[in-house]
């Protein structure tokens, strides 16, 4: 039997921002590790974008050799405490696990989290480094792509400086994913590790504005761009600029980066009503709807134009959201926001949808059902229908070639249209996942090393 994850009780947890899953105990982890069949050609590894040696690290857990387990993990994955919490493992490693054919797959993600947390409790070891080679690299953006690229290059002996536009590092891991899903002290420890490797961090520095790409090129031997997909998308329906309508980014940034959930101890406010509707059904939407509950919303809705089956969120997030009492309105499309006399939102007009033929994404296309309009009383709307690549840097330098979608054009190894400038993560792939961003940061580090040899 797959070991159950101990969790905070839903009734309690919606009143606090503490982490929801509590982590395996040592006994649970060992029991779970013993379920692994140690497959000769393990299919699970193929499901991991960075090809962690899954059977080996699990074997070490079963043998209670935890430090060997973490070493094995860290060879391929520099942020295991993060991915062990946020990877969509059910469609990645665990999705391909042999045991899945006959029952529940090995809980690879949870085991990964277990060993990573165990190491953080103990003193972080300063990792082995190659001799300094006196070559300088600039990494732009401190999300998972930038962090991974910076740490790999530092370990190879490069002199790395990491530039971040915001006041703090971590990208989406800091400003997007809430405390109850990814505690920020875990992130800070991961970042400590990177500074111990010698990476210099420069916050408040907007590349393209404070320093241009061209200036970086003069000072550094190579550059990695990992500026992410931070441009919020809108539906362009009437009433979107009313008070009470936020982009997911604004809402989450206020709460997570600026700690508005501790207002007024922290000076940044966020105003949340009694009835909150989140538009969309991805991870970002679940984070918004669940955060709203914790900030005191009485009712928190998810409004999504397709059905539950198409919802892009991780399965665990959907389940957690349901347990916490989020109300799902599937096959529903908002068409208009209705204002009260003060310019605030008071209602959403929606229309019911049905699923038609599959579209370009392979999912069945939602179609409007004529005359099915209805309204919901709502005082806060959180729009979480996706983010586009951040256009700020590409706009400041015409030499950077971008696609029609706004992503920076790269080869699979991250090479861009400018020699010596590489890119990876969401800015190159469009909004994706933490582990994919890390994978591309890794590939680019390798490519940079080869380029400079």
């Amino acid at each position: 039997m797959r070991q159950k994850m101990p969790e905070q009780n839903p009734k309690e947890r919606i009143k606090n921002f503490r982490e929801v899953p509590l982590g395996y105990t040592k006994e649970q982890a060992i029991t779970e590790a013993n379920r692994c069949l140690q497959c000769k050609t393990p299919p699970c590894v193929k499901g991991c974008p960075v090809e962690v040696d899954i059977p080996l690290f699990i074997k070490y857990i079963a043998q209670e050799e935890f430090s060997k387990a973490i070493e094995t993990l860290k060879i391929k994955n520099s942020l295991p405490a993060v991915t062990g919490r946020v990877c969509p493992y059910e469609i990645q490693c665990e999705g391909l696990c042999t045991i899945k054919k006959i029952g529940e797959p090995v809980a690879i993600g949870r085991l990964e989290r277990f060993v990573a947390d165990l190491e953080e409790e103990n003193e972080l070891k300063i990792p082995k480094k190659s001799k300094p080679n006196n070559k300088k690299i600039a990494v732009v953006g401190s999300g998972p792509a930038g962090l991974t690229c910076a740490s790999d290059l530092a370990r190879m002996g490069y002199d790395v400086t990491l530039y971040e536009a915001l006041s703090d590092t971590g990208g989406v891991l800091r400003y997007g994913i809430p405390e109850f899903r990814l505690p920020k002290n875990i992130l800070s420890e991961e970042i400590d590790y990177i500074t111990k490797l010698g990476v210099k961090i420069r916050v408040d520095t907007i590349i393209g504005k404070t320093i241009t790409l061209n200036e970086l090129e003069c000072e550094y031997d190579a550059i990695f761009i990992g500026t992410g997909a931070g441009l919020p998308m809108w539906m362009n329906i009437p009433g979107e600029n009313l008070n009470g309508v936020y982009s997911a980014n604004e809402f989450l940034t206020r709460v997570n980066l600026m700690k508005a959930y501790k207002f007024p101890e922290y000076a940044t406010p966020v105003k949340i009503g009694k009835k909150v509707a989140t538009i969309g059904a991805g991870n970002v939407a679940m984070d918004c709807a669940r955060t709203a509950l914790r900030l005191g919303a009485k009712e928190s809705y998810i409004i999504y134009r397709r059905s539950e089956e198409e919802a892009p969120a991780r399965k665990e997030e959907l389940e957690h959201a349901k347990d916490e009492g989020i109300v799902f309105k599937f096959l529903t499309l908002p068409t208009r926001y209705i204002e009260d006399e003060d310019g605030c939102i008071k209602q959403i007009e929606c229309i019911k949808m049905k699923l038609g033929e599959p579209d370009a994404s392979g999912r069945r296309r939602p179609e409007r059902i004529q005359n099915s309009e209805f309204t919901l009383d709502i005082d806060t709307v959180l729009v979480a229908i996706g983010q586009r690549p951040n256009p700020l840097l590409p706009k400041t330098d015409k030499r950077i070639e971008t696609t029609d979608y706004g992503t920076i054009k790269t080869d699979p190894d991250g090479t861009t249209s400018i020699p010596g400038v590489f890119a990876g993560g969401d800015i190159a792939t469009g909004a994706a996942t933490v582990i994919l961003a890390m994978g591309s940061g890794k590939k680019a580090a390798k490519a940079i090393d080869e380029y400079l040899k």
Binding site: L166, T205, T210, N241, T268, P391
Partner: protein, 276 residues
């Protein structure tokens, strides 16, 4: 950390700081702004770069104490340090020789008008400046504006100095006198920018306004600063902050700037308690 190297009190609630920020000073241009956060628990607030000195590596900020952050900032002294300061943000003003330009500044808005007026003058324009405030006490940068303008007009709401009334009255008078005006630029309270834009619209005089919506990141990431311009949604931090005043939906901006009023007064109360 960004050190305050000079502090000057311009009026009751308006202060001028010179802050050491060499990278920003090197790049700054008239019309741009920065976002600062005073300490770990602080809020991010935008302030215009009112002047810069590339040699000394300093930028000048002029701000009015209206709420928690600006009041706390006002209490800081020379030698104190600001934790975070990022910029320069936003697009620079379009500086070229238009002919005759009228620069209209109201309240603390005179501060951001100053570098633009100066740059316009250097670009060869005839600069007519109109500055105003509620009363003489609150009028700032009069000498500085005088120095770089071909002509300076002053208005106060109570008539304590200059014209008794609004800056827009003076602009209307200049137009009525048949003066040639090729461009107007105006910065100040939203209501003032709305009225000034209303004055010039019938005459088709291009009027640039600099909008001050509530911001968070200032890099186009949150959309909190969105404004309606010509029926399109724009992000003031990356598409602006300057826009064509004849196209701006000022009423929507005024409403959006009250989004957190309740919370802001709560923060201010809390701050006052802490300070006692």
């Amino acid at each position: 950390m960004y050190k305050i190297v000079k502090k000057k009190i311009l009026s009751q609630a308006v202060k001028l700081f010179e802050v050491s920020a060499p990278l920003i000073a090197k790049k700054a241009q008239a019309g741009q702004f920065i976002i600062l956060r005073l300490d770990e628990k602080g809020e991010r607030i935008p302030l215009t770069i009112a002047d810069f000195n590339r040699e000394d590596g300093t930028i000048t900020l002029v701000f009015m104490e209206v709420g928690e952050t600006t009041t706390q900032l006002g209490k800081m002294e020379e030698g104190d340090e600001i934790l975070n300061l990022a910029g320069p943000l936003g697009n620079p003003s379009e500086i070229k020789d238009y002919g005759t330009v009228v620069c209209v500044g109201g309240g603390v808005g005179v501060a951001p008008v100053y570098p633009i007026a100066k740059a316009l003058k250097e670009a060869g324009n005839k600069v007519i400046s109109i500055i105003g405030a509620r009363c003489e006490e609150l009028l700032i940068l009069k000498e500085e504006m005088q120095e770089i303008s071909d002509e300076l007009h002053v208005a106060t709401d109570d008539g304590s100095v200059g014209h008794h009334g609004f800056v827009s009255d003076i602009l209307q008078k200049l137009i009525d006198e048949g003066r040639e005006i090729n461009q107007v630029i105006t910065i100040g309270p939203v209501i003032m920018m709305k009225v000034v834009s209303g004055v010039t619209k019938p005459y088709g005089i291009k009027t640039i306004v600099s909008l001050n919506p509530i911001m968070v990141d200032g890099t186009g990431m949150c959309g909190g600063c969105r404004v309606t311009v010509g029926n399109e949604t724009k992000f003031a931090c990356v598409d602006g902050p300057e826009f064509d005043g004849h196209l701006v939906d000022f009423d929507n901006l005024m409403k959006r700037n009250t989004r957190f009023t309740e919370k802001e007064s709560c923060a201010m109360e809390n701050y006052k308690k802490k300070c006692q």
